[in-house]
Amino acid sequence: MKLSRRDFLGATGALAVAGGLGSTVGAFAQGKDILLGSVLDNSGNLDIYGKPMVMATTMAVEEINAAGGLLGRKIKAIQYDTQSDIALYTKFAQQLARTDKVDVVHGGITSASREAIRQTFRRANTLYFYNVLYEGGVCDRNCVVTGTTPAQAVEPIVEYAMKKWGNKVVILAADYNYGQITAKWLQYYIKERKGTVASTDFFPLDVADFGSTIAKIQQASPNFVVAALVGGAHMAFFRQWAASGMNKKIPLTSTTFGVGNEHLALSPAEGDGIVIAGNYSQEAKSPANTEFLARWNKRFGDTKIVHEIAVSQYQGIHVWAACVKKAGTLEREAMLKAIESGVSIEGPAGTVTIDPKTHHAALDINLMEVKNQKLTIISTVKQRPPADTAQFCDLLKNPNDNKQYEVKI
């Protein structure tokens, strides 16, 4: 017997409705479920990022349903595991948009995966939320970004580090669109503050030997180093940096460290002192965060794995839910209007406000330092805007824009 996912969903949906009729809860009896799709790497190399995001998706959907759903209907999550394989992203994106006909998609982790699926959703008029920190610049009315951009999470590092340590910088970055564009923003922010970039080096994701790099950095003797390195192999840099004793000599900062809970993989001696910036720290003492972690603990157990982009995903789904409530319908134009109404929610990492012009989010940003395997908060800026993307992008004026802008240096 051939059982397609759709048949299966139909059958289980019918069962759910039947169950609902039998009970006293008839709340979800009207209309069919709202479908929320996700494409995330729940296995493979990137699952350290993806797994907690999948859990966050499940949790957000369950919580919204427990609170009565949206528009009197229940949300059903259709989550596909892209297995860290970029080809599966395009495949499942097509499936979500054309076969499952979902009402919204929250997904994509690396910038490469986002660009692989963004146009598919745009063509299919399927609203798309990308909930991960990234290199900035995506200007697409169909797409909402709730992760941080360089103006939010890179500029504060540059500002802090240049003030504290000096103005000569070495940049190390992953060799794909995230690293390349982030490196440009780094150069831009450093030059803006009259600093000099001693060198910029790019590393393919499988490079795990940084001996020559570390020697070259010493020869350049910068005041500090910024690492926009990504993935498991690049972790070797932080280890080799510490093993050579450099962590006591030249300060190290990173735009990505901590996002995949890297601070837990390094010993305190290796990780201490690395400066990062981002939207979320588990150490934040706000009631919203404490309650969020308690709920996570109740649902999944271990809260150690909660990281920034899991929280971003959770917040992104709640932003979408707020838009649905505001629009009162799932109809596309009404939803876009709601998104462009300055909608705002309170998440575990603070207030998330969608900027109508860019469809990016103003976020609370923490400057943090790794201390004893924890991301200790140095200072917090409330509601930092995505100023980088806003330099180029105005979707209210140019609703048909469909570009990713990069800074010119």
Partner: protein, 289 residues
Amino acid sequence: MDYAAVVVLEILYMISFIALVSAGLAIVFGMMRVINLAHGEFVMLGGYTTLACFRAGIDLWFSMLIIAPLVVGIVGLIIERLVIRFLYGRMIDTMLATWGLSLLLIGIVTLIFGSSAVSVPAPISGYRLGAYQMGGYNLFIIAVTVVLYVGMWLVLRFTRLGLIARGAMQSAEVASSLGYNPRTVYMVTFTIGAALSGLAGGILAPLTGLLPSSGGGYIAQSFIAVITGGAGAVIAGTLTSSAMFGTISQIVSFASGPVLGDIVMLALAIVLLRLMPQGISGRFFRNSQ
């Protein structure tokens, strides 16, 4: 001047790195002509064995130098008994089987340890070299590689075991007519090869960190080194090609970046294999080990 010393040390380290991860493969391929595509996973297993022992509170040196090769050697023995021994002389089948094996090993390790990057801390701290700060652990890796290769050479050259191994390698039929079962020789050789891979994995774990998929990073370099080295003389060939590739990739890395370093290394391997299809040892070291 200091910088020159730094470059030389980094080159020596890179040579040792390649030679170390290639040792197990060199033995298995050179002696038995078995292409073991699960070689990288043996290295990875050595790393995870070290990690597990370290977490259990066992001394790190003992874990990486004794337990890691022992455990991976036993795994190799089991695999040889269950899979490899049925496939001797069938190169393509062996490749397929070991490829499947590598996927299986990755899966098992992921199930046990999860797929996030983990590491053991480097047990040796950095030291100063003039104005430069260097990784002390690199020196240890260089030392281990030297000891390992000298040891391999001594065993092959001067012991009865080495003589039998070389005999079985040159002509399995003659060896068997003299009363040595080549199948037993192969079993021992494969086990030793696996153990050496485990040793490499254990020793490199503090430096590179561990992922279930990290075996893939070793396999390319070790295959290039071993194939270019040639099967004519396992030790001399692998050492020469490691020295050549390590030097060139590191010099290019210093001059530009690691990307070009890898590209130049691959290009060089292609050119060399075109000029010397039997590998370096097939051309120059026909009568040594």
